[in-house]
Amino acid sequence: MKRLINLTPSRGGRWLLGLLPFLLLAMLYISLSNARLAENPNDRLLPTPANMASTFYHLATAENARTGQIVLWADTFASLERIVIGVGISAFIGLIIGIVSGGLPILRAKLSPLVTVASLIPPMAILPILFIAFGTGEAAKIALIVIGVTPFLIRDLQGHALRLPDEQLIKAQTLGASSWQVLLRVLLPQLTPRLLNATRLALGTAWLFLIAAEAIAAQEGLGYRIFLVRRYLSMDIILPYVAWITLLAFLLDQLLAWVSRLAFPWYHSGEGDNA
């Protein structure tokens, strides 16, 4: 018998093992749900899977009488638009400031303390201020995402710019590069894949802020719907929505990972499979 640390599951077994805890959770849910519903058939907290499925199917297919739209898709589209624009703006700002402040010591001295302080402010605390400053339109929601995510991206990219070996900056200069050319041809291309990576890490936070923002001021969106029906404790809508958000987050994450591997093979050369 091998030591425990040396035991590795086979490839097929790994899949099955991975499914195991999900099955256990599902069983736990169903038994709890049954128990509550047996006590009070009108209980809304833990609806049956069948109930959730039919509600979700309805949301995903039936046109809304008032707006003429299909609720799920309208919500999804609105939320995705916000998160893509918000994260896109953050990534852009993060890349520019990260490169410039990572590459130019004189600017870094100016910006670093500000970025550090900004990244420490919990955006949730300034949520009330944000909506007052930006109104309740799309701008405020996107601004919340940008404010929540950008300081992290800037710090991450600045850190990586600083960690680029000095040797490369010197080499570029011995090849005749100007400051601008060093930023453009050494820092920019090497930080772009890192940006994709950092963006993946920041996506979780971005979803959080999106949902928080939609809870306060929105007329459609995944977070809006959850907070609207929360007043009625409609868990048959909330739970499928949570699952749907989780799936979207996962797909977005995988999309970015795939793009990065495709576009920057050299960046991923040192990686093993990270489980």
Binding site: I170, K171, Q173, T174, L175, W266
Partner: protein
């Protein structure tokens, strides 16, 4: 007129004297090899030649002008590591110098300019024997191939001086031998002036025309940072003379201390 000259050159970091009392003059075409204990200031010296470290006292002149205070295309460099750009292919790495020169704004050339750059790069890549690996990224190359690439890249600007900081330190002995042949050939063909730091005395003798040994001449046990290293031996090496003899002579002199230090 000598290419490079130093007079009472010193380098301090705060109170820490790293180098002191350096005096030399180097003619074009010399191949200077630098040896010395770890931490004695060889890399610091090379950085002063590069322009990334300022001189603290004395003078260091290139063509009788104070040496520029930042790196420039007249002084090529190859480090032990990180000399090539991981995000560019072999061809891209070597073309870089040409592209930076011909396109100030984008640092990237297109069309005819690009074709010319490729052609020039091809020639350089052939010289170092990487013509089979044109489209490979550095991570796909072995350590030796990466250093060849770094050399090809550095020579693209036709620098007057080539600065090498333990360029073959991380390579296997067999591959090392191969690189010696290459660097020797390039030095002769292109009439470069080369400064090479090495930890391998044999290498230093095989390649150089002049050997500098860096060491401290004064030492204060109470304040180990009070005195810096200087060039304690400045020996011409003749290609014809067997290096073994020289080595022995050196060991009779003061190099033992140095070697001992190197071996801890």
């Amino acid at each position: 007129m000598s290419l490079l000259a130093a007079k009472r050159l010193e380098k301090h970091y705060g109170n820490h004297v790293v180098l002191e009392n350096l005096n030399f003059s180097v003619e074009p075409g010399e191949f200077v090899t630098l040896v010395g204990a770890s931490g004695c200031g060889k890399t610091t010296f090379l950085k002063m030649l590069l322009g990334t470290e300022a001189i603290s006292k004395g003078s260091l002149t290139l063509d009788d002008q104070p040496i520029p205070n930042e790196p420039g295309p007249d002084r090529g460099v190859v480090f032990q590591k990180y000399s090539v750009f991981p995000h560019l292919t072999v061809l891209g790495n070597v073309m870089m110098a040409d592209e930076l020169h011909s396109s100030k704004l984008l640092g990237k050339s297109f069309g005819a300019a690009k074709r010319r750059a490729i052609e020039k790069a091809h020639a350089r890549i052939d010289e170092v024997g990487l013509d089979q690996a044109l489209d490979k990224y550095p991570h796909e190359l072995s350590g030796g191939m990466q250093q060849r690439l770094a050399i090809a890249q550095a020579l693209m600007m036709r620098p007057r001086m080539l600065l090498l900081d333990e360029p073959f330190g991380a390579l296997d002995p067999g591959i090392r031998q191969d690189m010696h042949v290459l660097i020797n050939r390039l030095w002769q063909e292109q009439q470069l002036t080369i400064f090479m730091i090495t930890h391998d005395l044999k290498e230093a003798f095989e390649l150089g025309t002049r050997l500098w040994v860096f060491d401290k001449t004064r030492h204060d046990p109470q304040a180990p940072e009070a005195y810096g290293a200087t060039i304690t031996y400045d020996l011409p090496i003749s290609r014809d003379r067997p290096s073994e003899a020289l080595k022995e002579k050196l060991q009779q002199g003061g190099l033992q201390t140095h070697t001992q230090e190197t071996l801890l």
